[in-house]
């Protein structure tokens, strides 16, 4: 088991957001955490990253407990919603960053960074400034940067939310293609059923701080466990029919 989250409880101050939240992610699968805004998806992500400290529960990554482990020791690649790219560094500088702070030699980190940029099909943009990139390109630079540290787990927070509607399908397909080449577990957070169905190997539906249904996109699509999930799925059906 790559990642095992058991009965997690977390929140902000006295406000509990996650309660009794459990989830497992195997091998190299992509789990999409889907649910309405405010249901606790980002709270779960931030607990995994190490920004939030859960009050109870366990998080085991490859058998190691994440409890109390400092952020920089977790070896988790994290792509925030706005991609969090460093504007004072170029594309290569961004991708190299994690290796640089870990003390890697310049030649070694450049080699790895270029490999990662090739993985996301951006090797020809290595000397570009961040402000010269499109939304989709920024997203892939962020992903390459997160992958360069050879993480044990990748977390992506709403990776398609800053991509415009016209190019969304193309960007989503490229992301899906890159996912196929990454052999580590991935958790993607989204509130959009379309993103979930395009990117997921497995969907975990979260409502009010709990995972209420998990399954393949086809399973969740065919047999939503409750009315709320049914409504989410319905949204997707309407969109798909309208598109056709």
């Amino acid at each position: 088991m790559a990642l095992q989250i058991t009965k997690l409880k977390a929140g902000y101050g006295n406000k509990v957001i996650l309660e009794n939240c459990s989830l497992s992610v195997k091998g190299s699968e992509t789990v999409v955490l889907m649910g309405p805004s405010g249901c606790g998806k980002s709270t779960l992500l931030l607990s995994l990253v190490g920004v939030l400290t859960p009050s109870t529960g366990k998080m085991l990554l490859n058998g190691k407990s994440l409890d109390g482990m400092p952020i920089e020791m977790r070896n988790i690649g994290y792509l925030p919603q706005d991609y969090g790219l460093f504007p004072h560094l170029d594309v290569l500088g961004n991708v190299e960053y994690g290796l640089m702070v870990r003390g890697a030699q310049k030649t070694e980190r450049q080699k790895t960074a270029l490999e990662m940029l090739e993985l996301v099909n951006l090797h020809d943009l290595s000397r570009r400034k961040i402000k010269e990139l499109s939304g989709g390109q920024r997203q892939r630079v962020g992903l390459a940067r997160a992958l360069a540290i050879k993480p044990d787990l990748i977390l992506l927070d709403e990776p398609l939310s800053n991509v415009d509607q016209l190019t969304k399908a193309e960007v989503a397909n490229k992301l899906r293609e890159v996912f196929g080449r990454i052999k580590i577990p991935k958790i993607v957070v989204t509130h959009t059923p379309y993103d979930a169905f395009v990117l997921a190997d497995k969907i975990a539906v979260m409502i009010e701080g709990k995972i209420v249904q998990t399954g393949t996109p086809a399973q969740v699509f065919a047999k939503p466990k409750n009315e709320m999930i049914g409504k989410l799925v319905q949204q997707l059906e309407v969109k798909t029919i309208t598109k056709k």
Partner: protein, 259 residues
């Protein structure tokens, strides 16, 4: 009578023009006044006492700016990234109070604290160090204020957390994210600090005194001689305001080029 929108706008323009005229004429009038006795002003500028006061003003202000940067940047980082009890009060005490504090009161306090009767046995009164300390108290908050605003912005963006998730420890985040991204604000804070330190008077006057060639700066020269040596005082004023204005204009141009 109801005021029309057009009339209201004209009044707004008129009021803002008044303030511009007041500020610009105050700055420029010293040059106009100097024209009347130009040769005497030029002669005064070349005098040892004024040149020495100018040198001490510039060097002590540079010293104060260096100290303010060395202490102010770490403090700005703490203010921007740590939440602690009474934080807002401490910030007000360190940033806002010194800027509104009566400078002569600052001088008296420093004299009592670090003068001949110092409770910690450290007597720095009437020295170059006293000049620097008096200026740091008044001008240093500019550095903390400019830099902490930018550091807060960086913290809000979450870039520091992304950097940590990539393996950077807190000090690496400070040196590789906070510092380079805040270069403009650090430079702006330093420029404002230096310019403010150049004009600092009250603290220097009381704590550092007016020893020619040792602690006499342009503002203290003007303050102690304006009644008896009007032309040299005018020459000294012109020197210090021109130096500050040139530094600020050059800084703004550099920043504009960088953007």
């Amino acid at each position: 009578m109801k005021l029309s929108s057009a009339h209201a706008i004209i009044i707004l323009y008129f009021l803002s023009t008044l303030l511009i005229l007041f500020a610009v004429s105050t700055i420029l009038y010293q040059y106009i006044a100097a024209l009347g006795s130009l040769s005497e002003v030029i002669k005064a500028i070349g005098e040892y006492r004024i040149l020495s006061a100018l040198w001490l003003s510039i060097t002590s202000s540079i010293g104060a700016t260096i100290v303010a940067l060395l202490l102010g940047i770490p403090l700005a980082y703490v203010f921007a990234t740590k939440d602690f009890l009474w934080k807002s009060m401490v910030e007000t005490l360190v940033i806002d109070v010194p800027q509104t504090f009566p400078p002569v009161a600052e001088g008296i306090i420093l004299l009592l604290m670090l003068g001949p009767t110092s409770p910690i046995g450290l007597n720095l009164a009437f020295t170059f160090a006293a000049l620097v300390i008096a200026k740091v108290f008044i001008a240093g908050p500019f550095v903390v204020s400019f830099v902490s605003r930018k550091f807060r912005e960086i913290r809000k963006s979450g870039m520091n957390l992304t950097a940590r998730s990539l393996g950077a420890d807190q000090f690496q985040v400070f040196t590789t994210i906070f510092l380079p991204l805040s270069f403009n604000e650090i430079a702006a804070g330093a420029a404002m600090c230096w310019a403010r330190a150049m004009g600092e008077l009250g603290g220097s006057l009381i704590f550092a005194g007016v020893i020619i060639g040792q602690t006499e700066t342009i503002p203290t020269f003007v303050a102690t001689n304006s009644q008896t040596l009007l032309i040299p005082s005018l020459a000294a004023s012109i020197l210090v305001t021109t130096a500050s204005a040139l530094a600020l204009f050059s800084f703004k141009r550099l920043m504009a080029k960088g953007e």
